[in-house]
Subunit: 588 residues, 2 copies
Amino acid sequence: MRYATRIGPGGFNVLPTPLRRMKIALAQINTIVGDLAGNCQKIRDYAQQAARAGADLVVFPELCVTGYPPQDLLDSALFLDQTEQAMADLCRALPPDVGVIVGAPARNPGRVGKRLFNGAFLYENGVEVGAVYKRLLPTYDVFDEHRYFESGPPQEVVVWRGLRLGLHVCEDMWNNEDTAPYHLYAANPVDALAAQGIDLFVNISASPFSVGKHARRTRVVEGICREHGVPFVLVNQVGANTEIIFDGDSRVHGADGKMLACAPSFEEALVFWDTGDAAPCADPEHDDIADLHDALVLGIRDYMHKSPFFTKALVGLSGGIDSALTAALAAAALGPDRVVGVTMPSRYSSQGSVSDSRALAQNLGIHFQEIPIAPAVEAFDAMLEPAFEGTTPGVAEENIQSRARGVTLMALSNKFGYLLLSTGNKSELAVGYCTLYGDTNGGLAVLSDVFKTDVYRLSHYINDKAGRALIPENTITKPPSAELRPDQKDEDSLPPYSLLDRILQLYVEEHRGLDAIIRATNAGPDLVRDILDKVDRNEYKRRQVPPGLRVTMKAFGTGRRMPIVMQWQRESAQRVRQEAGDEGIEAG
Amino acid sequence: MRYATRIGPGGFNVLPTPLRRMKIALAQINTIVGDLAGNCQKIRDYAQQAARAGADLVVFPELCVTGYPPQDLLDSALFLDQTEQAMADLCRALPPDVGVIVGAPARNPGRVGKRLFNGAFLYENGVEVGAVYKRLLPTYDVFDEHRYFESGPPQEVVVWRGLRLGLHVCEDMWNNEDTAPYHLYAANPVDALAAQGIDLFVNISASPFSVGKHARRTRVVEGICREHGVPFVLVNQVGANTEIIFDGDSRVHGADGKMLACAPSFEEALVFWDTGDAAPCADPEHDDIADLHDALVLGIRDYMHKSPFFTKALVGLSGGIDSALTAALAAAALGPDRVVGVTMPSRYSSQGSVSDSRALAQNLGIHFQEIPIAPAVEAFDAMLEPAFEGTTPGVAEENIQSRARGVTLMALSNKFGYLLLSTGNKSELAVGYCTLYGDTNGGLAVLSDVFKTDVYRLSHYINDKAGRALIPENTITKPPSAELRPDQKDEDSLPPYSLLDRILQLYVEEHRGLDAIIRATNAGPDLVRDILDKVDRNEYKRRQVPPGLRVTMKAFGTGRRMPIVMQWQRESAQRVRQEAGDEGIEAG
């Protein structure tokens, strides 16, 4: 259906009128946070390319001028001055006779409130011809928008070349879809725009990826189109900025909700849609594991390429599956020649530790080095002998091995400008099954939001896609072990990963309580209690690990803000109750 | 003046009437985040003690039931259930015939908005007889209140035993005093309460310490009292929770603004005020350096005592002033018997490194060990020789030394349950003059918000107070050096600390730009540019350092959220401008 529904001033539906013919370009670009000049240059380039292809309107993502999320750069008066100047210059430098919608922070002219709005601006022939401000400001998980932005006033329709545009910003379309665990918004900007009578929704976004997001996005946009009988153009940022990965996935849906165009995920794209074209397109296939793979690859690539410091990526290879997967992802992201794998055997390393690592490096075509850590471990043991006299070897000694590896890797990183990728997965990080200043060392934690069970799935996916065992079969089938003491196996101290991951998902991602988790998993109460205690107790470790790529709705990292020094006891309520009942007790 | 101004329903002033006689107790308690049972027990104990002393009303701090800040514990349904249960039990368990005001999160019964309010509740004889919700929610610096809380409706006067109480929560009284750099609030809850006619303001707070806070607090409260002619009772939490230190500093001011009672800072207290007593008290003397000292001591003590894991604190002693000060503060916080100092000389350590450390340990009476790191450093050098062949020794080799010390300290920490205190100061951390996974290792960064110039002031203060050189004279007078290569001095790569600290203060704490800093300091543009670049470039290090005690308005830590991967160029605006002017260029 190629007609937009109009709602008259009195609120009555009037007959659909044909949508004015127009060619719209969706510019799904990858910006760099803070790089005003580079981002504006990219916007100009894409706008010119779109103009040459006959576009009437080019739509860019949310805050594309500053990159998203700019975080506390927004506290800098200088940065804001520069942003305003960059926008003024950009506006004049855009190609003529094309409408261009960009996202940028804008000063709040009001006397009170946060100093900025999160704005969407329509430029044409060197003039701003439309502007709206984001109303729904996400302030949960990784989002801190109310730290910087004031919620905008209800958006008015932007009337342009006879089209009534329902322009809004990211969260404005999500209303309560993703926010329900945290709060519900009172306003529904999309409804408010539709009520004014519009021909087309235009949403500019910086909407992060998490597994399953393509389908959630489709569901939300479809629902809006069907409810209001209006087509929808969504342009989302692509690219990773430190922890947060944006998948792009920009699209157009018709007034009946059907998808008419969709950009590829995880890469830049310029997609065109003619408003006269109502032919549905095929919904691009999305597979959770394939998306996860592509997201992690993009996360590594952008961390590396957007930082001016690094020559190659460095991975410590243990022979285990986490480091193997990390190396494989890095090779896919950067090319094998820009990846260095180092195996660092100790006396507790299995035979396979070195041979599997070497086989992996050969399969991937990455650089490979072997640096046994025995000299350092023996030196520390000797240095500490007087202090440790009479004690039983344990975690302290195990950690020395992990830290000797960490020092070795950082020495290579410092010497050669390598970006050290840490390899720990979400399951280990959750229960603290890692050594701070040892295997957690690095600039980027690639798998810190990937449960161990998904580490296996990803490894199989990579091998299946390659049609051969890039990740050696032995690495996949051997029982997981930290190899820090003789015959150590993960399962000696942890339940099977399938159960562990389910418990962790319920606790960390869904905030479920002890009883609920026991019911949902049928696991023993002592086991669940022990796992939950481990999660609580290791917050201090997670506070100091490198930023990790976020691929779920709740990663460790900036989206999780748990107190470190605290004494919450999951079963304390009962104790309080019992004590309160006993009025005789007084602690004086 | 012992009369409260009444404003009649019509808004006209009526004649002052005598304030009803009543004994009010200010319960300045130190709570533990998440410890519902312990906090409620403490509230009961203090309430009973106050009741025995004849108090009519006992006032506790903001969120005293949960401890402040509870952070993402507030996302847990179980935690909220437990909190409600704990409050119901507490309400019934409080002593009879006394009014008790406590702070706690409360569920927002509304259909929309954040799920909680930040509430103040008045309990009496097992019943809730009054409640208000915080209206001004700080969402800047370390504060994330809009992440959890909905802004409350305008507070209504709580009428209790004939008194009209202007009850409100923390930020509600600050309105725009501290928030101006970030935003201005539209509402002024204090004015709105006064307009209803009140006898007494009651503010419950979790208001963090920063240098100079006592005087700022006095100024704000005095101003409110004078404006409205109403006395003011302020009860603030005391104690440190991870990074944030609360100084207490609870007080009563009379209707004329004069201070009538004031609790000691940095310790628990129960202070009584009879509403009939209008005799001013002496304003407790506050000195910036003494406050800084006491705040850091409290910060160490609470981190240690509120965590169930640690037996002693551990400090690596270099012979330099930062580690000496850290050890002295730890000894003051925990007693010398619970502090272990370790000196770890290398071949580049000066003679004084060991002897000054030993003298310090003797002066303080702390435990002392010497563990030379040569074996580990030599082992790493040998292990890395093949990989490093043909390269020039530099930062990589220097960092190995620092990391060998870091591994040694962590081995002691892991073996004996020591809390490792890291010793780097704010100046070093700002410019990245520290080794990640080396000297930054630790559970708590004691001096990470203390500029080097204040490190000297604090050291002199400690020695002056002791009447002898607890911190050895040689440690204070020697030129600062990391001693990681021969004859290395800080001033080889950094300007004098007095200048460096001024530049950093302007940049980090006041968000000033390059030109403004050059003008304010008269420093050379290249020098300032270099310092600012160093600050920007080292965000990745600060992301991975331990939590540090916050003692200024802008510390590194959770209150500073800068992007890590980014490419802001302070002088990029000009480039943008030049390029935009040249329409001929096309990157196509």
